[in-house]
């Protein structure tokens, strides 16, 4: 379809400033041009959104696009296609690439590649430490100038409290948020799965829940010291949630994300010894999964973030202990959340779009649908039952292929342009 043709989304329940409203949405020249009942426009592309939720485009705080350096796993083009298919209009690319994104020119490369592809707004996260080596600070101010608003050594924990303190002091002044992959290296060394009865039975070294909470407890003390905004990545344990809850009631500027897989699967999956269930942090017991679901429902957890981590097939075709961590999830994160957690429309878009956009400093995204606002939109059918059968990602390391899900993304619109449509668009 041409850029000039207007887009009319009819019959859906639209998340507006007044809450969900049964109105049509007219998109023209990249912005929401009109909201109203029975809008009639000639020669518009038409999407029948009956029974669907219409809301701001989804925002992922945690995507591994693998470019530069590991394009055999994924690149910005294939990852962007997966993001669009999952309803995302913006993703924050994690900086653990090769080279890592520790300076402004590298962040600009990622953002520019995303813009060339044009399927999703790609924001670059920058590292906390130079070369992501955990010793010296990265070029934080240079990264900020390049548009970076999230700083993280994701994939590795910033273990050195002194380094993290300096990063927090610095980021508290320039702006942005320090995001932590919280897995204590000493307590997790040699571990591959949750430490518990199953790890003992399988003879695999475990990663205790404490490996997460001990880092969170320490980091929160540094937040108290520095006043820096802090974001806990991929929380996996009830213990860590309790710490976040206490910190928040104290008024500390703390946010937290959870992945679709930690909301869906528990550690018993590891008994299959299939490396598709290997990720960091590991899958936890059912009691933790229940706590995560409840915390997302209650709003204690701010955001769902995919930790989309593609790997080439051969890299996972090894024994569990020798496989790399990570699973893909951009394309069915929305469906997984709708399947596992009872969220209403506002709660869904808050966790999937609005709060992530705020955390990532993406002002154009995550806004309720309003006339004049940029048309970054997602249409989701919360009731459809389906099973994914294919993926746009280069990585197929996902347990969701073939798995029954409830809820499906029907349309993604970035700046007024459909970037994904589950069904062919009609013309009025």
């Amino acid at each position: 379809m041409s850029a000039e043709r207007p887009l009319l989304i009819t019959g859906g329940l639209v998340l507006t400033d007044d809450g969900p409203s049964a109105v049509d949405v007219l998109v023209r020249e990249g912005v929401v041009a009109a909201l109203g009942r029975d809008l009639a426009v000639s020669d518009a592309a038409v999407v029948d959104a009956s029974g669907c939720w219409v809301g701001p485009g989804l925002v992922d705080l945690h995507t591994h696009l693998r470019e530069p350096g590991e394009e055999h796993k994924e690149d910005i083009a294939s990852g962007s296609a997966a993001a669009a298919a999952g309803g995302y209009t913006a993703v924050v690319a994690m900086p653990n690439t090769n080279p890592p994104i520790d300076a402004g020119h590298l962040a600009r490369f990622v953002v520019d590649r995303g813009r060339q592809v044009g399927l999703v707004d790609v924001a670059a996260a920058g590292t906390i430490s130079a070369r992501r080596a955990g010793a010296m600070l990265a070029h934080l101010d240079d990264l900020w100038d390049a548009g970076v608003r999230m700083f993280t050594d994701d994939g590795d924990t910033v273990a050195d409290a002194g380094l993290l303190r300096r990063a927090m002091e610095y980021v508290a002044e320039i702006g942005g948020v320090v995001a932590q992959h919280a897995v204590d290296p000493g307590l997790s060394r040699g571990g591959h799965m949750h430490e518990g009865a199953l790890s003992s039975r399988l003879g695999m070294q475990g990663i205790p829940a404490l490996a997460e909470s001990i880092v969170v407890a320490r980091d929160l003390a540094l937040v108290r010291l520095t006043g820096c905004r802090y974001h806990l990545q991929h929380v996996s344990t009830a213990e860590a949630l309790a710490l976040v809850e206490a910190a928040r009631s104290e008024g500390l500027p703390v946010t937290v994300e959870v992945t679709p897989h930690h909301l869906t699967f528990d550690e018993t999956q590891v008994a299959t010894m299939d490396p598709v269930f290997k990720m960091m942090p590991p899958l936890r017991p059912a009691s933790d999964v229940a706590a995560l679901r409840e915390a997302l429902r209650s709003g204690l957890i701010d955001a769902v973030a995919t930790d989309h981590a593609p790997h080439a097939a051969h890299e996972k075709e090894v024994p569990f202990e020798e496989a790399p961590n990570g699973i893909t999830g951009l394309e069915w994160a929305a469906a997984a959340v709708l399947t596992e957690v009872a969220l209403d429309q506002t709660g869904f878009f808050a966790a999937m779009s609005m709060r992530p956009a705020t955390i990532a400093g993406l002002g154009e995204h995550g806004r309720r649908v309003a006339v004049g606002a940029p048309a970054h939109l997602t249409v989701v059918d919360p009731k459809t039952r389906w099973s994914p059968t294919s993926t746009c990602s280069r990585g197929a390391n996902t347990p969701w292929l073939g798995r029954p899900l409830t809820g499906r993304v029907r349309l993604t619109v970035l700046g007024g342009m459909p970037t994904f449509a589950a069904d062919p668009l009609g013309v009025s």
Partner: protein
Amino acid sequence: MNHLLTTEGLERSRIESYLDDAAAFGEVLRRPIPKVPALRGKTVATLFFEPSTRTRMSFEKAAKALSADTMSFSPDTSALHKGEGLKDTVLTIEAMGLDLMVVRHQATGAPWRVAEWASVPVVNGGDGCHQHPTQALLDCLTLRQRFGKLDGLRIAIVGDIRHSRVARSNIHAMTALGAEVTLVAPPTLLPLHTEGWPVTTTSDLDDALGELDAVYLLRVQAERGGASVFPSFAEYRRRFGMTRDRLRRLSPEAVVLHPGPMIRGIEIDAEVADDPRALVLDQVTNGVAVRMAVLYQLLGGDHVG
């Protein structure tokens, strides 16, 4: 496809069928010409990604005593060094034409992965700290030869249980055959979670000693942390070693087993290792017979027992 990957959940009747066949093959091994044509024309491949000499030799001897051909793979002389992945290695070797694979690997679950990819039976020759089923079968055969049955036998497994695939396999096999198993180790060598296991645990060997019918000693695995998980080898010997003094305090009918290789002077005193009540060499001999039984059954042979 029939595999032997674990003793966990293995039915008593299946274990006994292996042991019965192994007893029969033990007779074959004592003949002047210790060989039968049962698997003539079959090829057994040993894929040992983790170095091992004795287990591999035992499987090869078993295969040859059944007139099967053998091929072997070792990581130090292979394309693994050139970056080839496990799946490609397995499919490449399988494409040469073979009928059964024995897989030993340092990673838990590797034989299960191989069994997914391969179209032939797979025998787990030891995976990580997880399972080593043929070792458990040969240990049970050794105890059955001595005591007639395992029902009611009181067995202590002593040592680095946390990192022991031998212990994990034996716990299931021995208890399936009716034995009572106690795990004896310092806390740092016991698995972190044994709730639900059909065992009792203690860190006091002397307390258990007088009641035992068999003491199963595990090797102190220096390569898995060694002295960092207990204060010193001398202290380990004092608390958990099968010393001459402890041998005297065992009941006269009790026996001592060890999967080898033994480290004399740490987990077992030399005098104990050489005592007639130590059945270590019987275990090795039985290993060949048990592996004959496993190869024979997985390659479709009828029950011979």
